[in-house]
């Protein structure tokens, strides 16, 4: 049976449809679950928090959603090993819950306003990221080490930061830095535009220690099919619909669920 994913819709979420579509194209089932839904979500095999402006980014992006009762349920599901993927605003929410990086079960990092010499505020562009961890997690099963992925970003507050040096060391040691912004050769260069937002250590995505929760700022659901990519040659429609590298994140999630389903 295909794994079943709950795609969470908070007030202000705006990427739920394409995220659901990506799940389905990767061989999973997906339901969009409204924030006030009375439905029991315990039966879902995995969860995705899609992008958007949940609760209008009031106070700080992701803060209010992180306090939502749904997040408590998702947190306990994650503790049981179910995969949770947060994309863009979903990434901000996971940071605000403390699930990421999840070293001491409290808020340990932040997503600060972009530092960008070209455009201030919201910035939408295509970047390259690479699978920068040697460790297998629920989302990188199909990536080679250092494999480069073309993917878009679209955010105003995507700069991973922390005040505690030791956290970075620990993330590195634990292999939690899942994706890093890089150039065409895979070099992690901190200069703009390779690092598009000034993120510390070029971090684009972080997993928890266990590897079943991933928070990433870039949007894999927008780079899922070849036709969506920025630079491409499409030989025919079948080729246009072939899966691009970012799709492997969803496919890994599917395999992870299949393997770990009890």
């Amino acid at each position: 049976m295909a794994p079943k994913i709950a795609v969470i819709l908070f007030p202000g979420t705006n990427c739920e449809n394409e995220t659901k579509l990506a799940c389905e194209a990767a061989g999973m089932e997906a339901d969009i679950i409204r924030w006030n839904s009375k439905e029991n979500i315990d039966d879902y095999d995995g969860f995705i928090l899609p992008g958007g402006w949940s609760y209008e980014d009031r106070i700080r992006a992701g803060v209010i959603s992180s306090k939502d009762h749904l997040m408590q349920k998702i947190k306990s599901a994650a503790k049981k090993g179910r995969p949770v993927l947060g994309i863009c605003n979903g990434c901000q929410i996971l940071i605000e819950t403390g699930m990421i990086p999840g070293l001491k079960d409290k808020v340990e990092m932040a997503l600060a306003p972009n530092i960008n010499p070209f455009v201030s505020g919201f910035y939408c562009t295509w970047v390259k990221i690479k699978n920068s961890t040697k460790k297998k997690n629920a989302f990188n099963e199909f990536y080679d080490e250092n494999e480069i992925i073309d993917i878009p970003i679209a955010h105003g507050e995507g700069r991973f930061t922390t005040k505690d040096e030791w956290i970075l060391d620990r993330l590195n040691k634990n292999g939690q830095i899942a994706f890093s912004y890089c150039d065409e050769q895979g070099t992690v260069d901190s200069s703009f535009p390779i690092n598009p937002n000034g993120s510390i250590s070029n971090i684009a995505g972080i997993s928890n220690k266990e590897g079943n929760v991933l928070a990433m700022m870039p949007h894999p659901e927008r780079a899922f099919f070849k036709k969506q990519l920025k630079e491409k040659t499409m030989n025919n429609f079948g080729d246009a619909m072939s899966l691009a590298k970012a799709a492997k994140i969803f496919e890994s999630m599917r395999e992870y669920i299949k393997k770990n389903k009890t």
Binding site: L9, P11, G12, T13, N14, C15, N17, E18, L21, A22, R34, N36, G51, G52, W53, Y55, E56, F118, V119, G121, F122, Y123, C124, T125, W126, P152, A154, H219, E221, R222, F224, K227, Q228, K230, T233, M234, N235, N236, F237, D239, A240, M241
Partner: protein, 783 residues
């Protein structure tokens, strides 16, 4: 005409002076003679509420009173039209997929006055209003495009111009991004005619199944149906917005005009959109026919009168049932305020509960935004009277057709002969250094890369984008994710062309928008126009408008839908007059055109960026001495006279030959020749949208008998295409069949742009130099 139960205003007995004073004190833009018609129509004096209602309905913005008779000539029908410009938005037939017929909804609006006064909010609510027009047809909103015109960034109002430009761009981003509607096209022009009046237009697209269209009218036999107002709680924001849009902006009134601009709330809109899509779904499931309309200009009053009058019915509305967020609002403000994020439903009683539940419970509107909700405010009546009640008393009781009928003017027009006679071609010396001139043109803010604008916009959300802004002459999407067919969109209008010749300028706008759509391989199927002009009461200005409409009409009639002799239809549009400063300076006449294209297989779509080394570059379209309004003249502080003329037959052939060549997968890249001339076209092909191109080009100008400057910088329409060796004979065959004038320009090679003429090298530029000029000019204009 019925009786009312409140005091009336004694218009009949007022002197002209008293009446003028009254109108001014009440911020009404209605003319004296219009006001005096009211007692005749109502057969009694009007109430204050009725005065406000007619003031709104008779404004230029709502009634199209000056433009209606002229607009009649536009072609609006044809095989690609599902719904012409009759309702909130038009619909073009797109494709059949899995046995269903799909349409693309298209709407075009301006929000010029608000954006000049309060640029962030003005631009944001411009998006907000236009997306509502598309949604309320029953569609999913999938794309926006933003044509923008700002004042001179180096002129005497440069500080204000820069402030407005940045705030407008931020406003568009600040609304469209949270809502989740990608921007896929747009353009930006700067010149001093826009110093006191920026133009902020927006085109919005939506997708729907033909069978799912919801009309902006009450259903047949809707007597007794509920009238439901949905969304944000009504306040006094945007009161008088329609009338305000029909005034000349006076800088001194800036502060007092702010209240006429609406307040945007994209967060609430995002949820309203999702809730509304749920209503669509439920209604389709249950087979219920509803009426649905956006609340824009004129608020509740305009939306409800138009919904019922088009069905031959009337309405009775209890103003006290409208959910409001301010105490003691006068009833005419509740009726006419333009509070954003609202819609009106006409629903049969048995479905009303479902609508209320979806908005108020499922999507919790009251918890999302203070006092927001869905409320039943009245009912549809058999009698054609439009009755508003306040505190149990009737405050408006007028024939609904009289309200919506509006007024009509046959304006006089007269050509500004002197202006035309003063135009002349300059006698410029050839530039000493063509390389430097090329760089100067590339850094001109009207030519330079607009990345600093469109990177503020989410171009990717919804995951439908195939070609994004900057990559090609038109944006491309797959509106149905698993369907082969795609759409393309471009918006165009060169203000200086229309300054020189409002007719030819308009012809060029249509022609260019079609070329741009062709460049990606899409076939033009429908147009939308936003006609931005000065004060129509001035005969010279009205003449520009008349010429503009004639221009777009002639172009659409003669450029044809592919493989037919039928016009490319206009399925929606908008007119914006009074774009004039208090000192009497009007904007360059601007018939801004959006062209919607369709391609059967999106995998054939191509961009402008050069793809391969050592491929052949062809020029399509003869170079002519047509530099009037060109960037080359502009950098020489000249305007000129000879703007490009469009020979319809050859232009048509050229467009359809390019489309066929792309359809046969014969081209690697394609870019239209327009602003800056062929050297700009080629430079942009080398650079590509991101200015990351690595392949240069070497071309020769020996084909041209014109002066070098005219060959390089003339903006005569055309294309440059890139093709591989193996495809050349087929391309030649195709072009000969279409009787196309084409020339082999040169080859792609190296990492430079090299141009020679008579074996002498006249341009030699590194890609780096091209990049440096092209990527900085626009940024400088904004900073």
């Amino acid at each position: 005409m019925g009786e009312v139960e409140v005091e009336t205003i004694n218009v009949l007995d007022m002197s002209d002076k008293e009446l003028s004073k009254f109108l001014k004190e009440n911020s009404m833009s209605m003319k004296l003679e219009e006001t005096k018609k009211l007692p005749k129509i109502l057969k009694r004096n009007p109430t204050l509420t009725e005065l406000h209602i007619f003031n709104t309905e008779w404004s230029e913005h709502t009634s199209y009173k000056s433009s209606k008779s002229i607009l009649k000539q536009l072609p609006t029908e044809g095989p690609t039209v599902i719904l012409g410009p009759k309702e909130d938005a038009g619909i073009a037939f797109f494709t059949e997929h899995n046995g269903e017929r799909y349409g693309i909804v298209m709407s075009h609006e301006s929000h010029n006055h608000p954006s000049q006064v309060v640029p962030y909010e003005g631009a944001a609510t411009g998006i907000g209003g236009n997306v509502r027009d598309v949604l309320c047809m029953g569609a999913r909103v999938i794309a926006c495009a933003d044509p923008l015109r700002f004042g001179s960034p180096d002129g005497k109002h440069k500080d204000r111009v820069k402030y407005i430009s940045n705030a407008v761009i931020d406003g568009i981003a600040g609304y469209g991004n949270p809502l989740g509607v990608p921007v896929i096209a747009g353009d930006v022009y700067f010149n001093d005619s826009f110093d006191d009046n920026c133009l902020v237009n927006v085109v919005t697209l939506g997708i729907l199944k033909e069978k799912d269209i919801i009309h902006s009218t009450a259903p047949e036999n809707a007597e007794g149906y509920d009238i439901i107002v949905v969304g944000k709680a009504t306040d006094n924001s945007g009161f008088g917005g329609a009338a305000f849009a029909s005034l000349i902006l006076d800088e001194e009134d800036r502060e007092s005009n702010r209240g006429a601009v609406q307040v945007p709330d994209p967060f609430l809109k995002n949820i309203l959109f999702r809730a509304t899509e749920s209503v669509f779904k439920e209604a389709r499931k249950k087979g219920i026919t509803l009426g649905f309309k956006d609340m824009g200009a004129g608020g509740i009053m305009c939306a409800t009168t138009e919904l019922v009058s088009s069905a031959g019915l009337g309405a009775e509305i209890d103003i006290d049932k409208v959910h409001v967020s301010m105490h003691n609002l006068p009833p005419y403000i509740i009726a006419c305020s333009e509070t954003q994020e609202r819609f009106t439903w006409i629903s049969p009683k048995e479905f009303t509960e479902t609508i209320l539940k979806i908005y108020n419970k499922d999507f919790e509107l009251p918890n999302i935004s203070e006092c927001a909700r869905a409320s039943v405010v009245g009912k549809v009546t058999r009698s054609k009277n439009y009755i508003l009640k306040h505190k149990g008393r009737i405050i408006c009781n007028a024939d609904v057709d009289e309200i919506t009928e509006g007024v009509k003017y046959e304006r006089k027009s007269r050509e500004h002969k002197e202006k035309r006679e003063n135009l002349k071609e300059p006698n410029l010396k050839e530039p000493g250094d063509y390389s430097q001139t090329t760089l100067k043109i590339l850094s001109h803010p009207n030519v330079a890369s607009k990345a600093a604008c469109y990177k503020h916009y989410d171009t990717e959300v919804q995951g439908l984008t195939i070609i994004r802004p900057g990559e090609a002459d038109a944006g491309v999407q797959t509106p149905i994710p698993d369907c082969k067919a795609g759409i393309a969109l471009s918006v165009d209008s060169n203000p200086k062309y229309s300054r020189i010749d409002p007719y030819l300028g308009a012809v060029n706008a249509v022609a260019e928008s079609m070329r741009n759509v062709a460049c990606v391989g899409a076939v033009p199927i429908a147009m939308t126009d936003c006609l931005n002009y000065g004060n129509p009461e001035k005969q010279e200005v009205f003449h520009e408008f008349v010429e503009g409409v004639k221009g777009i009409t002639d172009a659409a009639n003669n450029l044809y839908l592919k493989d037919t002799k039928k016009p490319v239809p206009f399925i929606s549009g908008n007119v914006s007059f009074y774009n004039e400063s208090a000192a009497g300076k009007s904007v360059d006449p601007s018939a801004i055109i959006g062209c919607l294209g369709k391609m059967d297989d999106i995998s054939k779509a191509i961009t402008m960026k050069i793809k391969k080394n050592n491929s052949t570059l062809f020029l399509i379209g003869k170079r002519k001495d047509e530099l009037g309004g060109s960037v080359y003249y502009d950098i020489n502080n000249e305007l000129g006279k000879n703007i490009p003329k469009i020979d319809f037959e050859s232009h048509r052939d050229m467009i359809y030959a390019v489309i066929d060549a792309i359809d046969d997968r014969l081209l690697l890249s394609c870019h239209d020749i327009s602003d800056g001339g062929m050297i700009t076209t080629l430079s942009e092909m080398i650079l590509g949208g991101e200015a990351a191109g690595k392949i240069g080009a070497e071309i020769s100008l020996d084909f041209s008998s014109l002066q070098i400057s005219k060959t390089l910088f003339s903006e005569t329409p055309g294309f440059i295409i890139e093709a591989e060796e193996g495809n050349i004979s087929e391309i030649k065959k195709l072009f000969e069949k279409h009787l196309i004038n084409f020339t082999e320009l040169g080859r792609t090679a190296g990492n430079k742009l090299i141009v020679s003429s008579k074996s002498e090298e006249i341009i030699n530029l590194d890609i780096k130099e091209l990049k440096n000029s092209w990527t900085t000019g626009f940024v400088k204009a904004l900073r």
